[in-house]
Amino acid sequence: MKSSVIVFPGSNCDRDVAVALEKFQIKNQMVWHNDLSLPKSDLVVLPGGFSYGDYLRTGSIAGKSKIIKEVIEHAKNGGLVLGICNGFQILTETGLLPGVLLRNKDLKFISKNVYLKVTNTNNVFCTNFKKKNVVEFPIAHNEGNFFANDNLLNKLEDQNLIAFKYCNNKGEINDEANPNGSSKNIAGVLNEKKNVLGLMPHPERVIEPLLSGKDGSLLFESLLK
């Protein structure tokens, strides 16, 4: 499997995700935001960070960047796209994923480990979560409050496009386990074709026991199947 990680000038999880991809034998290339073409890849990753500073709405400038046209094309042709944190925010800006990411409910940056329930394991990113569908990932964001109107939320539920929901350690999805105010505790969503996934938590930061867990490995291992 071949992947490309897009590097925006303010990306800061690009190295982390590249390390994770390589650990799982995915052959990766870094692609600069000003490049006009994408190398041949099965998977494109939009990493976390602050793409262009995000002084404007998060991800909005990246959503109009040079390379993003190629990413959209890649997704439309059925190629896989994974957006983590800022990458998720960028994907909602491009329209590849539905919804928007607002400022956290308490107006503070949140950096901590959270529990997630994997609510859709029938997609190429999540098949390995069948064996363990309550997992612990870190979050680190200021704008992770997923918002969608009721129609959209119903559609996401009906079509089973919600991949991850914030929950407690028992897998119960409730307000107390919702760190940032997201509608229906949503932490990650898929597009209709299920070839594009965006999530706020960081699977690439939990890929070995020394890093307080390795639940993130399940996502990368799923991609190999």
Partner: protein
């Protein structure tokens, strides 16, 4: 324009100093030149009150590659790996404008580290606020924490914690000390000394604006009732640009075009150009028409004294400028060739075809006035005897201490800082020290920041010693070998004999402990004039320590690991309660002497613990500091979600004194019962005093014949203070 007495005063210069300037120049300075002298001669940049004492500090051991005097200190950690680190204060700006003050404090210290070629791998901070009920404290706390987070999170550098403290002496003078740590290949370290004539002086980074003019001079004076008027002297941070600057500099550093590099920090273009040229025994000529400016019609005075952030000054080999230009263009940063190195040993500035300044560089470096200020020796206060403690309930005292602002869990703070980015954070904030792995290797560094202002205030000499030992102990507790420190010396007005005495004696204590423990100081910063309306802060030297963990499999953490294990206290408890959290929080007693330090025991206890750790006999370890044995043990229980049954050893010490005293050089360790004799044998062999005090158990912390409490209840008490205090109204 004639220079009036008022102009001289507004530049923070004394009459005698002005006379010296005239003598050095052989003429009156013009306003621009006066501004440059003011920027270089102020306390913050010149260390004129502290130099005499800083010289006496130990700065070398077998690991030190670079000691004080560069952008940051450098130590070797084996193979080709070196660690670059430094701490710096941003106290005055953070009080005036907490978000930007704290943010640019982080930005500044990060530049100091990556200027040397290192990729930053962690930041820490020591932040001190006034009393929680002071009207300004809540806003300052929220602003500073958001500012630290806002900058570091955007840069993508994990925040490895530090300390957060409250005390009314900081009501009008908060402390924001930021430390940064970077990793560099030993063979690719960059320095600030310019070399060679006729080499290009290059300006890169952000444009110069009208912010932060005279910031360093502002930080070299006391505050008064007009503090709010100083807002324009605070710089505004742009972490995105700093991220670009970081990546662009590191990219350029892969090649060989850089001769030297220095960040434009305090006193901006002035100090960076003067320092680079004077260290290289050269001159420097700058054409101010070339400076990238944010606004039109900026004057030479504004350009030279602006403290706009995210800028660097480089000396590039003649003929290689285009390599640099290409890289900075790629990262969308300003790039300008603004001058040349010369052989004149002078700073010469030209603007619109006129020479606007011409100053011999020695006048700004070696000729800076140095003061040997008067100081007063302090006397070690006496103990109070015959206090009746019997009626005071142990559990109530424990609850009170654990729920107090200074001893509460600081999660509310750490959770606003990204501490897992870069994928190498092995121990997050909240432990004795944080642990960061060296990328791609199985070794790591431990880092901590400590201060003990109450101890230093009660007796500066003991306090200075103690704070070094505390940092050393924290590093030992996680299984590292302590290597070196950086210090941030926060004091009041050095022109006062008492304050200068605190400084001199704290430094004596620091020096004695550093020497004994072979724990040298490789970088640091002095912040005087932390004083408002004649009221000074408590003396607060903050010590940032770095240790090496050669094999991460030997790392130790403080959380209890299992039930039916034994807890042993290493080191002797004599029952010293003065200056303890128990006296302060429970008894409301704030006078008396701080605990004394016996450096022999300190070292012996620590080295023995290292020995036990290397033999894999330790399940968890925690240094016993603020709060004493019972608070330490509670913290181990809370972080491990495991309880303990405490049985007091048979000795003649009153149980309050035993459980809450803050005698130094002690650790609590958790060991398996089967290892008991192996552990005790090693301790005996090394003449270590130890006592078995508890056995771990499920969920409940109890003291035999006294109290019993579920750790979840204790956890709530320990966690709630910050959330309640900062709840949105």
């Amino acid at each position: 324009m004639t220079i009036s007495n008022e102009i001289i005063k507004n530049h923070g210069l004394k009459k005698d100093e002005y006379k010296k300037i005239i003598k050095l120049l052989g003429r009156n300075p013009n306003l621009l030149e006066l501004g440059i002298f003011s920027a270089m001669w102020n306390e913050h940049c010149s260390y004129k009150s502290s130099k005499k004492y800083l010289k006496k500090l130990p700065t070398k051991n077998k690991y030190v590659i670079q000691g004080p005097g560069e952008n940051a200190g450098v130590i070797s950690i084996g193979e080709d790996d070196a660690i670059v680190f430094k701490i710096e204060s941003h106290n005055h700006p953070s009080f005036i404008e907490p978000y930007q003050g704290a943010a640019t404090g982080v930005g500044g210290i990060l530049r100091d580290v990556f200027t040397m070629g290192a990729r930053p791998i962690a930041t820490l901070n020591s932040i001190h606020f006034g009393s929680p009920d002071h009207p300004k404290t809540k806003n300052l706390l929220n602003g500073v924490v958001s500012g630290i987070g806002g900058y570091g999170n955007c840069m993508g550098i994990p925040n490895a914690g530090g300390e957060v403290k409250f005390n009314s002496s900081y009501n009008e003078n908060i402390l924001v000390n930021a430390m940064a740590i970077g990793h560099v290949n030993k063979k690719k370290i960059f320095y600030s000394t310019a070399k060679g004539e006729n080499q290009s002086v290059i300006y890169v980074g952000s444009k110069t604006g009208r912010d932060g003019i005279h910031g360093a001079s502002m930080a070299s004076a006391e505050f008064d009732k007009n503090t709010d008027d100083k807002k324009p002297t605070v710089q505004v941070g742009d972490p995105f640009t700093e991220k670009l600057l970081l990546e662009a500099c590191l990219e350029l550093m892969k090649g060989d075009s850089i001769i030297s590099i220095q960040d434009m920090g305090a006193a901006g273009l002035t100090s960076s150009s003067v320092e680079m040229a004077s260290k290289g025994n050269l001159g420097i000529k700058i054409n101010l028409d070339k400076i990238p400016c944010r606004e039109k019609n900026m004057t030479p005075y504004e350009m030279m004294l602006s403290e706009s952030q995210e800028r660097m000054l480089l000396i590039i080999k003649s003929g290689k400028e285009h390599f640099a230009e290409e890289i900075f263009k790629k990262w969308d940063l300003d790039f300008a060739i603004i001058g040349k190195t010369t052989n004149t040993k002078k700073l010469v500035l030209n603007y619109k075809d006129n020479q606007v300044a011409n100053i011999p560089l020695n006048a700004l470096s070696t000729e800076v006035p140095i003061y040997d200020r008067k100081w007063k020796k302090s006397i070690r206060p006496k103990k109070k005897n015959n206090l009746n403690l019997e009626k005071i309930k142990i559990l109530d005292s424990l609850k009170k201490i654990l729920s107090s602002p200074n001893n509460s869990n600081k999660k509310w703070v750490w959770e606003q800082y990204d501490n897992t980015v870069m994928g190498d954070t092995i121990q997050k904030p909240g432990g004795d020290a944080s642990v960061i792995r060296i990328h791609g290797k199985n070794k790591g560094i431990a880092a901590t920041i400590d201060s003990s202002s109450h101890y230093c205030s009660a007796h500066p000499l003991s306090g200075g010693k103690q704070v070094v030992c505390e940092a050393w102990r924290n590093l030992v507790s996680v299984g590292s070998e302590p290597i070196a420190i950086t210090n941030c010396l926060n004091f009041g007005n050095p022109e006062k004999e008492i304050v200068m005495g605190q400084f001199v004696e704290c430094l004596d204590g620091i020096s004695e402990a550093c020497t004994y423990l072979d724990f040298p100081i490789v970088s640091g910063n002095v912040s005087f004039y932390n004083e408002t309306n004649n009221k000074s802060i408590e003396p607060t030297p903050a010590i940032g320590g770095v240790g090496l963990i050669r094999d991460l499999n030997n790392m130790v953490s403080q959380n209890l690991k299992g039930i039916n294990n034994l807890i042993i206290v290493i080191g002797k408890t004599t029952g010293h309660l003065h200056q303890s959290e128990f006296f302060r929080e429970v008894m409301n007693i704030t006078d008396g002497p701080p605990p004394e330090i016996n450096l022999f025991n300190e070292k012996n206890n620590g080295l023995s613990l290292q020995n036990l750790i290397s033999k894999k006999l330790i399940k968890s370890a925690h240094d016993i500091s603020a709060g004493g044995i019972l608070v330490t043990l509670s913290e181990m229980c809370l972080s491990g979600n495991i309880g303990a049954l405490v049985k007091l050893p048979n000795n003649n010490i009153n149980k309050h004194e035993y459980l809450f005293s803050e005698d130094q050089s002690r650790y609590a360790i958790e060991i398996a019962q089967k290892d008991r004799s192996a552990v005790c044998d090693i301790l005996k062999e090394n003449d270590i005093f130890y006592e078995i005090i508890a056995k771990t158990q499920k969920d409940i912390l109890e003291l035999n014949n006294d109290f019993s409490i579920h750790i979840n209840d204790l956890k709530k008490l320990n966690n709630n203070w910050f959330y309640n205090y900062n709840r949105l109204q």
